[in-house]
């Protein structure tokens, strides 16, 4: 069997093309391709070379439309045993090709050519074409005879023209030879035999039959020649005769041959035009051809020779003729039967040819899977021949099948779609993706795919093509590792290494092997080197352009709402960058990656290779770094990996597709997941642009970058050192704060930074920052407590409660190359790692007040000072403790009011508390208030040991205003006046606000500072607690009662009674009263308001049991003067007296209390008394005074 047969093969003149002398394969191919242009020589073109020696047997030769067809057999072919049967199998001409420069001696060339021609007995014309001869050759050539044709060196066109002429000459010569042959065949009784014919001697009747047969065969041979000579009509006539004769002699084989010839002549006659009628005719006749070939099968010599190959050839010819989509069914039937017949073929090479043809025809038909199937059969046949060239053939055939099985090498894909990919890298992304998804679907025929790859590997090894072997093993391992046993995986790994050993080092392969590489993350700028676009129009150039938070995406950012998947990334020339990739080795052997680095096709990126070891079934995230070298765009499609001795490129996109497929269940397994790595969101490769160098500030906290540990409220300075690590000076810098607890940064020495500008590369500046620790919230406390308990304090830092210092800085405003574009600035985010520890904890605040009743003496309990300049009368003693206890100047009793703070110290250090009260001088209006020159009171420090709690008392004595007037309620009254009674709620609100304001004012004057150790100090923030404690009784603290009462003994001698205001020190020694004695007393009422108060005063006296002693039948005290219903009127800020006398019957302790009911109370008084309704009487009750009565009963 022969490859590439078709119905028209019968009319082709076979010409052997032989290299003569030394012709390199390239040159030979080149000359051959020149010949191929002259496969068809029109008869009209050769008429000039043709001379009719005798009457031509080709009577109907179409000189104007016909042509001769050549089939060039490069390298020649051995004579076929079937030459007699089909003349077109004969080599009818020989063309030698000689390249003169490499074979200078023309004599030798001719000798060689003649020797070569010896093998071709059937050749009618022999020519040797000598190309590129030199002048001496040309001279010689003239005498060498006409077999040698010299082609003088000339341009290609001229040479081709020359060649055309030569070919036409050959054609004419052949035509003349054919005429001779036909005439000879008609006359002479040459015996035409095929291997099919019986070798045995013929019986007598068969001899007669044989004569007729001989005639038929001769007719067929003549027909063949007619066909070769391009005269289909003549051929048809001869074939008809042959058919008739062959049918009579039941010479089926020749009958079929003649029939084939007649079909060919029919087609040639019709000049290749195909219509359905012809198609039907051809189909009909060829079916008959096939049938007759089958009929000619003779059992006797079936072992030796069989017409089967002719039958199959005829089948293929018909199939090729019909091979169109519309006829697919017929063609498939034909091809299937041909393929089925292949098993009966004796010759292996016949089977090979048959499979090749079947595969090709299926391929033409568009049945790529069947084509692939038969190609694989071909490859298997090749592999059965144990030699290298067969293995190479097998490998190449298998390589063709890879497309159908979707296991093709990346190299072959990229050759195909190179134009696509370069032209539209981004726009076609979706389509490419789709394609790859489809191929993922198809890649599930793993059983078939693995077989193909394994056979490629086998054949490549046998063909000694290490690169192909490597590629096949790589594909096999990468795609089908889950289906391969660990032992098999190891085998593939060693196949990879063995192949690599035969390859020169540095060989690249298009197909990646292991490991799987996926993009883990593109670290968007670390906060240390944020790049901020400069807004040239603004002083604060970073505003509005900078990402305003830790989030890459904010829902409020405007523009490009759909394009947020494509992140822009800016890299800077000369600054190293990192990309995190994840590697996975899902196979059962340890993988050593000799080097892996980012592959950038843009050429402006230097990647640093690293080497990695991946143990069995493991994955690893590694950081790959590199330095952008020049301004422009950088694309990083994947990594370049040097593993198993070959350099491959691993594209991120491929692995993404793979993982995508794995997620959909299309791919066998996700290599990362089976290595225990977690599922990762698809990371998109950002657009990376490289910009010119920028300054780069690097910061560190002096004294270590660890957390700054502060107790609540602690104030401390830290120093931050900033250094310019870039190559461009910093010319502007601006500091701002962000994050939580910004108020904990009290001050930043911005001026220090300012004065250091411009900061040259390498220069450093240190700026102090004052911090004050914030209060821990209750939640913080709990978590902190929990953390302390679990012993992981460090974690606490991560909660992001610390503020960050933002430094926006920029280099020179213009760079030298481009004046128009402002280079971007940068932002340094310096998170202050402040760890606030719980300091003193505040438990509660309480207002303590107590009154110690005064004794009624001869003198009034002295007001602390009645006049500012008199100090002798003050009760304030030198004793420190006594200082805390003040006599209320107007109430007449010892009044004590403390703010008690309960503090506990849960820490492990000692705290010392100091309280200071700041007084407002301005508030002291009329000098009657407590006045000591110091505006601050210092109190002894309180020390709280660790794990103890303690109470700190803050006296609240200095705040009372001396006069009860409207100023306190001013707002209240005004609002009442303006809005009337309509807005009571509003006025109440105002009252409340006023109250709060005054409390705040009060609180702000109290400062509680603490100190711990040598360098920790701070202030307790307890405002809220104090406020809560004071809320209810602030009026009592701040305001005096409207009336104050006092009792005193009037001296025994009544004349002293007149000198009320000047009690004598001497006589007023002890306020003791004798029983059974009339004791004159007086009650003093002072009006603390600015209005005159009318009142109804009553005095009561009670004994220790609380019984009223002046009333009832058992009264123990007699009295003189009036005790009840005393009507008094006291002028503003004045005092009145009322005298009376008591006669105590029983000695003991008595208590005197004055009560006044105020008539016609003003609003101020009502507000002070907190009365509900305006009708309620306002009752002022004085403090109790003790009277100690001595004597006997």
């Amino acid at each position: 069997m022969e490859p590439d047969v078709s119905i028209e093969t019968s009319c082709m003149i076979r010409i052997a093309v032989l290299p003569i002398g030394n012709v390199t394969p390239t040159l030979l191919r080149d000359y051959h391709s020149m010949l191929l242009r002259h496969q068809t020589i029109p008869l009209s073109a050769i008429s000039s070379f043709y001379t009719e020696h005798q009457k031509s047997p080709f009577m109907h030769q179409p000189w104007d439309s016909g042509s001769l067809r050549f089939k060039f057999v490069l390298g020649g072919a051995p004579p076929s045993p079937w030459e007699d049967f089909q003349s077109n199998r004969k080599i009818l001409a020989v063309i030698g090709i000689c390249h003169c420069p490499s074979s200078p001696d023309l004599d030798v060339v001719i000798e060689q050519f003649n020797a070569a021609c010896k093998g071709y007995n059937s050749a009618l014309v022999k020519r040797c074409f000598a190309f590129s001869p030199c002048d001496s050759h040309l001279e010689d050539g003239e005498k060498k005879g006409d077999n040698l044709n010299l082609f003088p060196p000339a341009d290609r066109q001229t040479q081709e023209f020359h060649l055309q002429t030569m070919m036409q000459d050959i054609a004419a010569s052949l035509l003349m030879e054919f005429e001779k042959s036909v005439l000879k065949a008609e006359s002479a009784g040459t015996i035409l035999k095929t291997p099919l014919d019986s070798q045995a001697s013929l019986s007598s009747e068969e001899v007669i039959k044989a004569k007729k047969r001989r005639l038929a065969r001769a007719q067929k041979t003549i027909g063949d020649y007619c066909l070769l000579a391009g005269s289909p009509v003549d051929a048809n006539a001869h074939y008809s005769t042959a058919l008739e004769l062959a049918r009579l002699t039941t010479d089926y084989f020749w009958y079929a041959g003649a029939m084939e010839g007649s079909v060919c002549s029919l087609l040639v006659d019709r000049m290749g035009q195909k219509d359905s009628v012809i198609e039907e005719e051809v189909k009909y006749r060829y079916n008959s051809v096939i049938l007759h070939y089958r009929k000619s099968f003779i059992q006797d010599n079936a072992q030796r020779v069989s017409p089967l190959s002719f039958e199959l050839e005829a089948t293929l010819k018909l199939a090729r003729f019909l091979c169109r989509r519309e006829m697919a069914k017929d063609v498939v039937d034909l091809l299937t039967s041909a393929a089925d017949g292949a098993k009966s073929l004796i010759d292996a090479s016949d089977r090979l040819v048959l499979y090749i043809e079947v595969a090709r025809l299926f391929g033409t038909l568009g049945y790529e899977r069947k084509a692939a199937f038969f190609s694989r059969q071909v490859a298997q046949l090749y592999l059965q021949q144990e030699n290298r060239s067969a293995a190479i053939c097998a490998m190449q055939v298998l390589a063709m099948t890879t497309k159908a099985y979707r296991v093709q090498s990346r190299a072959s894909i990229s050759n195909h779609s190179l134009s696509n990919e370069t032209g539209s890298s981004h726009a076609d992304c979706g389509r490419m993706h789709h394609q790859s998804v489809v191929s993922l679907f198809e890649s599930q025929w793993s059983t078939l795919q693995m077989v193909v790859l394994r056979e490629i590997l086998l054949s490549a090894v046998r063909a000694c093509d290490p690169l192909a072997a490597w590629s096949a093993a790589a594909r096999l391992l990468r795609s089908y590792y889950p289906l391969i046993t660990p032992a098999g995986q190891n085998g593939l790994a060693s196949a990879l290494s063995n192949s690599a050993d035969r390859l020169p080092s540095g060989t690249r392969c298009a197909d990646p092997a292991l490991p799987f590489v996926r993009l883990y993350s593109f670290p968007f700028q670390s906060s240390q080197m944020d790049i901020v676009k400069r807004n040239p129009g603004r002083e604060d150039w970073w505003a509005g352009t900078a990402p305003s938070g830790p989030f890459i995406y904010t829902p409020f950012s405007k523009g490009e709402p759909n394009d947020n998947s494509k992140q822009e990334l800016v890299w800077i020339v000369g600054e190293p960058v990192q990309v995190l990739v994840e590697l996975a080795n899902p196979c059962g052997f340890d993988l050593k990656v000799d080097s892996i680095y980012l592959s950038a096709h843009s050429g402006n990126f230097d990647a640093f290779p690293i080497s990695v070891n991946l143990p069995t079934n493991s994955s690893k995230v590694i950081s790959l770094s590199g330095i952008p070298t020049s301004v422009g765009l950088v694309t990083i499609p994947g990594c370049t990996v040097h593993c198993f001795g070959v350099i491959t490129e691993h594209l991120f996109k491929d692995v993404d597709n793979l993982l995508h497929g794995a997620a959909q269940g299309l791919v066998l397994s996700d290599p990362f997941r089976c290595c225990g790595s977690v599922k990762l969101k698809n990371v998109s490769v950002p657009n990376i642009s490289v910009v010119p160098p920028l300054p780069l500030l690097v910061s560190h906290v002096v004294g270590g970058n660890g957390a700054i540990i502060l107790y609540e409220g602690e104030i401390r300075d830290v120093w931050i050192s900033l250094a310019n690590a870039g190559t461009v000076p910093v010319e502007q810098a601006h500091i701002s704060l962000s994050g939580k607890n910004q108020d904990s940064v009290i001050s930043i020495a911005y001026e220090t930074l300012k004065s250091a500008l411009p900061l040259k590369p390498g220069a450093e500046v240190t700026i102090p920052v004052t911090l004050k620790a914030w209060q821990l919230g209750s939640v913080d406390l709990e978590t902190a407590a929990g953390k302390i308990a679990s012993g992981s304090m460090g974690r606490h830092l991560k909660d992001g409660s610390s503020p960050s210092i933002l430094i926006h800085y920029a280099g020179p405003a213009t760079n030298s190359e481009d004046q128009s574009v402002l280079p971007p600035g940068r932002r340094l985010v310096l998170p202050l790692q402040i760890c606030v520890l719980q300091g003193l904890s505040f438990v509660k605040a309480r207002l303590l007040s107590m009154e110690i009743p005064a004794h009624v003496g001869e003198k009034l309990p002295r007001p602390v000072s009645v006049e500012t300049n008199s100090t002798e009368g003050t009760v304030v003693s030198e004793n420190k403790m006594d200082k805390l206890m003040k006599i209320d100047p107007f109430r007449g009793s010892w009044g004590l009011r403390f703010l008690e703070l309960e503090l506990s110290n849960p820490t492990d250090v000692v705290f010392e508390i100091s309280v200071s009260v700041h007084l407002e001088n301005s508030s002291i209006e009329n000098g009657k208030s407590v006045e000591q020159d110091a505006t601050e009171y210092g109190y002894p420090k309180t020390r709280i040991d660790r794990d103890y709690s303690s109470r700190v008392l803050i006296p609240l004595e200095h705040f009372k205003s001396p006069i009860l007037d409207g100023s306190f309620f001013m707002k209240d009254l005004q609002s009442d006046r303006t809005t009337g009674s309509k807005s009571v709620g509003f006025s109440e609100k105002n009252t409340k606000a006023e109250l709060n304001a005054s409390i705040k004012n009060l609180i702000s004057r109290i400062k509680v500072r603490w100190q711990s150790g040598r360098n920790s100090s701070g202030e307790l923030n307890i405002r809220d607690a104090i406020q809560a404690a004071l809320q209810t009784s602030v009026m009592d603290v701040l305001l005096p009662d409207p009336l104050t009462f006092g009792f005193r003994l009037v001296g025994n001698n009544s004349e002293q009674a007149a000198k009320l205001d000047l009690p004598k020190e001497s006589s007023a020694s002890e306020g003791s009263v004798l029983a059974h004695d009339m004791t004159p007393m007086e009650v003093l009422v002072r009006n603390n308001t600015k209005e005159t108060i009318k009142m109804n005063l009553s005095i009561s006296c009670r004994d220790v049991a609380g019984e009223n002693c002046t009333e009832g039948t058992k009264a123990t005290v007699l009295w003189a003067g009036s005790l009840n219903e005393i009507i008094m009127e006291v002028l503003p800020l004045q005092e009145s007296k009322h005298g009376f006398s008591l006669y105590f019957l029983v000695p003991g302790e008595y208590t005197l209390v004055a009560v006044a009911v105020i008539d016609g109370a003003t609003d101020i008084l009502r507000a002070r008394a907190k009365t509900g309704s305006p009708d309620e009487p306002i009752c002022c009750r004085g403090p109790p005074f003790h009277v100690c009565v001595t004597g006997t009963t």
């Binding site: 519309e326 498939v332 199937f373 679907f441 198809e442 078939l448």
Partner: protein, 143 residues
């Protein structure tokens, strides 16, 4: 005897291939099923103009190969069912019937809420049911 049945997804991805022979010819049957997709594709892309076959799911005999006959069936979701049999004279009605039952089994299998469309069918129930259908195919043709 049915030697192999297969379900092939609409992207020509195998969803289920089960052979019913003792010999180790899985690869060969895979090849046969794989090759049959060519014919299915061709039938789908060049539908016959004749009316009745317009909505026909049964594709008929796809091709005979060696000792096998390959039948095809195309669901309206473009899922292909392939049947490989060694019986040389098979009645079309039998094959149609087989495919109809097979289709029902397939529909039940993919209606499982835990089945991911496009993924290989791993349901044991399905394969048991298919085995039963395959066995009964032999019986009904005999009877």
């Amino acid at each position: 005897m049915i030697v192999c049945v297969a379900v092939v997804g609409h992207q020509n991805n195998p969803l289920y291939i089960q052979s019913f022979t003792e010999e180790d010819d899985a690869l060969k049957l895979h090849h046969i099923v794989h090759c049959s997709l060519d014919v299915v594709d061709e039938r789908v892309n060049n539908p016959k103009k004749s009316g009745p076959t317009l909505n026909e799911t049964f594709l008929g005999l796809l091709y005979p190969t060696e000792n096998y006959k390959v039948y095809g069936y195309l669901t309206n979701t473009k899922v292909k069912f392939i049947l490989v049999t060694t019986d040389l004279d098979v009645r079309d009605a039998d094959v149609r019937n087989f495919f109809r039952r097979f289709h029902a089994a397939y529909v039940d299998a993919v209606s499982n809420p835990f089945h991911i469309p496009g993924k290989k069918i791993t349901s044991k129930t399905f394969s048991e049911r298919v085995s039963a259908i395959v066995k009964s195919f032999g019986l009904s043709s005999a009877g």
